[in-house]
């Protein structure tokens, strides 16, 4: 049933474009009316814009032919103004409709992305770093939005504008059109190549900028150590090297940037030059009117933007598809832990969690992290100790169902965990991790995280049991004080006790504490321990610690080494074990 080794690596098979479009297609379909309205507005704008030069042409021609009159000119001007007004209104409309659509799409995609992440298990979070996921959330979402907003607009706009402008130009003179367009392909190629290169170089600059930032941060955070070892000069030199490289990379960007924009101007101007000379000759020969010539100039101006857009749009779409592919890769991941259908959890008086020859290996590892663990956690306090890397934290996470296990290895209430739903198991476990997690919220909200409906009295009681109540009383705002950068900063010990209060408030049958009392000082430690024991009377506690004074309260101490249980028993029994003995002596007053 459970395939433990079969975790898919982040480098997956290429996904077809159709699958990717399936990701955003439904949003397109749901908002088709909005999109249709937007594009109609866009097309109408393009045509109105093309008509304005026609009025100019008429005016110039009649002025040249000296047939113009004031009322005619006034009429033409009014027409131009009316068209322009329509253009303004419709432009606002398409922007609102189409760009708005792309924002809606972004919102839907982000919601879905986060919803998906919340379902993922630990193996997933080992393959994807938080940094990666954050980048997907901001950069990739932004590129997809860009492609579906401005990218779409530019494509349609460029398509309509260029065909229409070309049509009008052709109507005036096919020959002249061809001549004036001669340099245009250069522009398309240049923008395509240069904007791709610009993007690449710009990324390099961004990376260097992060290096610079990180270096400055690391230095300033440890300024005390830098000073203690008089490393100021060394750091200055390193910073300078990073800075110089940053300057060099920026100059590389500038050379591309310095080409990209002038190239557009250049191509436009060369087209204008060809028009001036060859178009001029056509007028002189009487092939076209001067009015047509002036209108032609306007049309040519209108073509420059679509031509630039072609290269630009191609890059935007390319990036959009890449981003969508990255997002898709995350969205297609499934947690390996969950496998329906599930049995209901049998209700019993006492809760037991049993490992039978439990073995576990991380996907990348060469050794088993856990190797044949036989252990029953029933009512009472089980202490656990062992050196770093002996498998203690792994066991905790497996008990919490964060990693998959094979069948017939782990039983909750006598039922194989693979036949139970994750929620049913987790709802019975309270957990305090090695690195206590606190959220940027109020103290009260942090404590009541597992039971948001808890009353203030209950919260205070939990805080008292975790011996953090006096600390909280000292914060300005007390339980309402917000934790975080702008609020209260907690010490390591306070964070641990806060996390403990959260676990105690949940009042669940099994409490797992993964070395989470390490930063609490000796005086408070005993107080905290008493709090736990009082609260967990008749329930089960798994307590991992390095401190003998904590372990000695356990009904049973389990000694773990290299993923195996090497010894277990009460404090007195274990004194025979050399490892445990050394630990005790180390921490003991030998007087």
């Amino acid at each position: 049933m459970q395939d433990v080794s079969g975790s898919t690596s982040p480098t997956t098979i290429p996904v077809s474009l159709r699958t990717l479009l399936g990701l955003i297609g439904p949003t397109f379909r749901r908002h088709w009316l909005r999109l249709l309205g937007g594009f109609i507005a866009l097309v109408v704008v393009d045509f109105l814009q093309l008509i304005i030069p026609r009025f100019v042409k008429t005016a110039v021609d009649s002025l040249t032919a000296q047939t113009a009159s004031q009322p005619q000119l006034l009429q033409l001007s009014t027409m131009i103004l009316l068209c322009a007004l329509m253009v303004a209104i419709l432009r606002f409309s398409w922007r609102y409709l189409i760009i708005g659509f792309s924002r809606i799409l972004e919102q839907k995609l982000r919601d879905r992305f986060f919803e998906h992440l919340l379902r993922m298990d630990q193996p997933f979070f080992e393959r994807w770093t938080i940094g990666d996921l954050m980048a997907h959330n901001s950069n990739d979402m932004a590129t997809v939005q860009m492609a579906c907003g401005m990218g779409l607009v530019a494509t349609v706009d460029a398509l309509v504008m260029s065909t229409a402008a070309l049509g009008f130009m052709m109507a005036i003179s096919v020959k002249l059109t061809l001549i004036a367009l001669l340099p245009m392909p250069v522009l398309i190629i240049c923008t395509r190549v240069l904007s791709g290169r610009l993007h690449h170089r710009f990324n390099l600059v961004q990376e260097q900028f992060s290096l610079l930032t990180e270096f400055a941060r690391a230095t300033l955070v440890s300024v005390r150590l830098i000073k203690a070892y008089t490393l100021e000069r060394l750091q200055e030199n390193r910073f300078s090297e990073l800075g110089e490289k940053y300057v060099r990379l920026n100059l590389k960007v500038a050379t591309v940037q310095g080409l990209l924009f002038p190239v557009a101007t250049l191509v436009g101007n060369v087209g204008m030059l060809l028009l001036l000379y060859f178009g001029g000759i056509l007028v002189i020969k009487g092939d076209i009117t001067i009015g047509s010539f002036v209108a032609f100039v306007s049309y040519l101006y209108m073509l420059i933007w679509p031509m630039m857009a072609v290269g630009w749009v191609a890059n935007i779409f390319q990036r959009g598809v890449t981003s969508l592919r990255r997002i898709n890769r995350v969205l297609t991941q499934e947690p390996i832990v969950v496998q329906p259908p599930f049995q209901p959890l049998p209700k019993k008086e006492q809760y037991t969690y049993t490992c039978q020859k439990l073995s576990f290996q991380y996907s990348e590892a060469t050794h088993r992290a856990l190797d044949g663990i036989d252990l029953t956690i029933g009512p009472g306090l089980v202490g656990m100790t062992g050196r770093t890397g002996s498998g203690k934290s792994t066991l905790c996470k497996i008990l919490l169902r964060m990693y998959p296990v094979k069948d017939s290895m782990l039983f909750f209430q006598g039922v194989d965990v693979n036949d139970l739903s994750q929620e049913d198991i987790r709802n019975n476990i309270a957990y305090v991790g090695q690195e206590p997690v606190v959220f940027a919220d109020t103290i009260a909200a942090n404590i009541s995280f597992g039971r948001p409906e808890a009353t203030m009295d209950e919260i205070q009681a939990a805080a008292k049991a975790a011996a953090i109540d006096t600390d909280i009383a000292q914060f300005s705002g007390g339980y309402k004080a917000v934790i975080g950068e702008r609020g209260v900063k907690l010490s390591g010990g306070q964070r641990q006790r806060l996390a403990l209060a959260r676990a105690l408030l949940c009042d669940r049958p099994l409490l797992i504490i993964d070395d989470a009392l390490s930063a609490i000082d000796v005086e408070t430690e005993q107080q905290v321990l008493q709090g736990i024991l009082a609260k967990m009377e008749g329930k089960s506690v798994l307590l991992i610690s390095h401190r003998v004074n904590v372990l000695r309260h356990a009904d049973r101490i389990v000694l773990l080494d290299a993923g195996k249980i090497v010894d277990q028993g009460q404090h007195q029994d274990l004194l025979a074990n050399p490892f445990y003995r050394i630990m005790v002596e180390k921490q003991r007053n030998d007087a």
Partner: protein, 600 residues
């Protein structure tokens, strides 16, 4: 995305602060020739761009529609105009390219220097300064604030200059051709300025609203992902999802605000452009009929007005960038003006100090210390440590132990009293000399992303034999041997991660390699693995030999090794003596030891 510059708590800089401009100018001083070159190029680009419509107009009037001339003459004349036109086109291209690169170079060089100055300056400041300024904010000074100023230098200053020049040029040409029509066109200047100012105000507000909301989403997401285990363990998925959905909804709402502002501004500028064309046709056409204006000039008016409206779209954005750049400049210069409070008092005799090299006597004489008035951290500290003595500092968190050793290394100066090292007031000794003599091993460690060897040697001379000797003597060889490539193993970001215990061992070797007379150890509070702890103990034994040592001790084994134990509470020394002496009477020390539950 439109960038309106980084901003801190919505601060805007004043554009009229001459003092600020003068300081900015000081940094540009050394690049005055390059800047002059950039201005020259600016003139070339502007003149050439403005020349184009003029040439077009000349081509039309003098040759294309000049029916009086022979056809051949008209065509060859047109050829000459086309030649000049082509020349201008080439010139614009070249000059723009050179200008962009040149400006980037100037801007980057200046910013690099400013950044380096700021970094160097920050490192000279005392810890009191860092106490009052969060590191994140200082990093921002070095990165975003500098970036802001750079933005202003390259994209803004010059385009503002270019565009301003262009504007003047356009209207100069217009007035030359026909002052009636030019006067009519002039009404667009105040209109455009008004529209731009209004828009830039709106756009800035919208932009900030979006940015701050995205920041909220990001920080929420980062937190949720970091705490995903807890969220899942406590069943908080639903609430987290709702919180993000709400943040996301608000984000979308704000982006719609931005769409509306941009959606209104861009078409309005276009509309003005079309109004200009309509006016030219109507009023200018009338002028043509009265033969006050030629057809070519009419066309030129249309082209020039197009040039006039072109830069307006970006102007508002640039105005905002200059504003935030000035705010950044102000913050940067403020930081540069911060002075260290640790002045070297004259009267120090290097030779005399060197002569006392082997001593290591420390005297605290009636030392008081506080970060803020009325909140004493240390008071009435009188402590005399003889050369070679090992002293353990004991007390609960906040008792003032760390502050005491910070004063010894002179991270701060005491409010009153004196600290003497070998009879010399630490305020008289150059900081580098003092810190070479006082070796500190702290709980945290600064790791250079480099080899273990480089991390030990740091700024000292590379003497492999001496390092070998130290490793031998302290038994830390076994620590180094545990690492995959021994001394050449790379550690730090992206390389090998050391455990807490290993870090402290490395710290120890590092300190000993500097051969300090006085060794200060802030023992790790958190539990470290037994193996490292054994090694550390052995190293302490060897390292303390022949040195004056001060230990902030948490382990009883360390405390018991000390010659003297000093118990601190609430910033005061309350007890001192040997372990046995202190255990014999009813002391705070005894109760601390008892609490540790160590009596069997």
């Amino acid at each position: 995305m439109h960038n309106f510059g980084y901003s801190e708590e919505g601060q805007d800089g004043s554009l009229s602060d001459i003092r600020l401009w003068r300081r900015v100018w000081q940094y540009c001083h050394s690049h005055v020739f390059a800047l002059f070159g950039a201005v020259l190029l600016s003139l070339v680009v502007t003149l050439a761009s403005l020349g184009l419509p003029r040439l077009m107009q000349m081509g039309i009037d003098q040759y294309i529609v000049h029916a009086g001339l022979e056809q051949g003459t008209r065509i060859s004349g047109l050829g000459r105009v086309a030649f000049w036109y082509g020349l201008c086109v080439g010139l614009i291209f070249l000059a723009t390219f050179v200008q962009v690169v040149l400006l980037e170079w100037i801007g980057q060089s200046i910013m690099h220097r400013l950044r380096q100055n700021l970094f160097t300056h920050l490192l000279t400041l005392d810890l009191g300064f860092f106490h009052s300024q969060p590191a994140g904010r200082l990093v921002t000074r070095l990165t975003n604030d500098i970036q802001n100023m750079h933005e202003m230098f390259t994209s803004v200053m010059v385009t503002l200059f270019n565009d301003g020049l262009k504007l003047v040029g356009i209207f100069w040409f217009l007035y030359m051709m026909n002052w009636h029509l030019a006067l009519v066109m002039t009404i667009f200047i105040p209109l455009a300025v008004l529209l731009t100012v209004i828009f830039s105000r709106f756009a800035r507000v919208q932009f900030r609203a979006i940015r701050s909301q995205l920041a909220k989403i990001n920080s929420f997401l980062a937190e949720a992902l970091a705490g995903i285990g807890v969220i899942q363990a406590f069943g908080g998925e639903g609430r987290s999802r709702n919180t993000l959905a709400a943040l996301n909804q608000e984000y979308m709402r704000r982006t719609f605000g931005q769409i509306k502002v941009f959606g209104a501004f861009m078409p309005l500028i276009e509309l003005m452009g079309s109004m200009a064309v309509a006016l030219i046709i109507w009023y200018g056409g009338g002028e043509v009929m009265q033969e006050q204006l030629t057809i070519g000039e009419l066309a030129a008016f249309i082209f020039y007005m197009r040039l006039f409206f072109q830069p307006l779209r970006e102007l508002s954005q640039k105005y905002s960038i200059v504003q935030s750049a000035m705010a950044s400049a102000e913050r940067i210069f403020q930081t540069l003006d911060a002075k260290t409070s640790l002045h070297i008092v004259p009267g120090f005799d290097q030779k005399q100090f060197q002569a006392l090299r082997n001593q290591g006597k420390i005297d605290f004489q009636d030392v008081h210390f506080a970060y803020e008035k009325g909140k004493p951290i240390l008071s009435e500290i009188n402590l005399h440590i003889t050369p070679g003595e090992t002293l353990a500092l004991v007390g609960s968190t906040g008792a003032g132990k760390s502050t005491l050793i910070s004063l010894l290394s002179r991270f701060y100066d005491p409010v009153s009293g004196q600290i003497l090292v070998d009879g010399v007031d630490v305020r008289q000794v150059p900081l580098a000399t003092l810190r070479q003599r006082v070796g500190i091993i702290m709980q945290d460690i600064f790791i250079l992303p480099d080899t273990v060897r480089a991390n030990i040697i740091l700024d000292q001379a590379d003497e492999p034999d001496r390092l070998e000797h130290i490793l031998e003597q302290t038994g830390l060889h076994s620590f180094i041997d545990r690492l995959p490539q021994g001394l050449d193993s790379r550690i730090g970001e992206g390389a090998l991660n050391l455990s807490l215990g290993e870090k402290q061992l490395l710290s120890f070797v590092r300190a000993l390699y500097r051969d300090p007379t006085i060794l200060v150890l802030d023992e790790a509070t958190a539990s470290i693995d037994t193996e490292s702890e054994n090694m550390l103990e052995q190293a302490i034994e060897a390292g303390f030999k022949g040195r004056t040592s001060l230990v902030i001790a948490h382990r009883l084994s360390t405390i018991r090794r000390a010659d003297r134990i000093v118990v601190m509470d609430h910033g005061k020394i309350i007890e001192q003596g040997s372990h046995d002496e202190l255990m014999a009477t009813d002391t705070l020390y005894r109760s601390l030891v008892r609490l540790d539950g160590q009596e069997e």
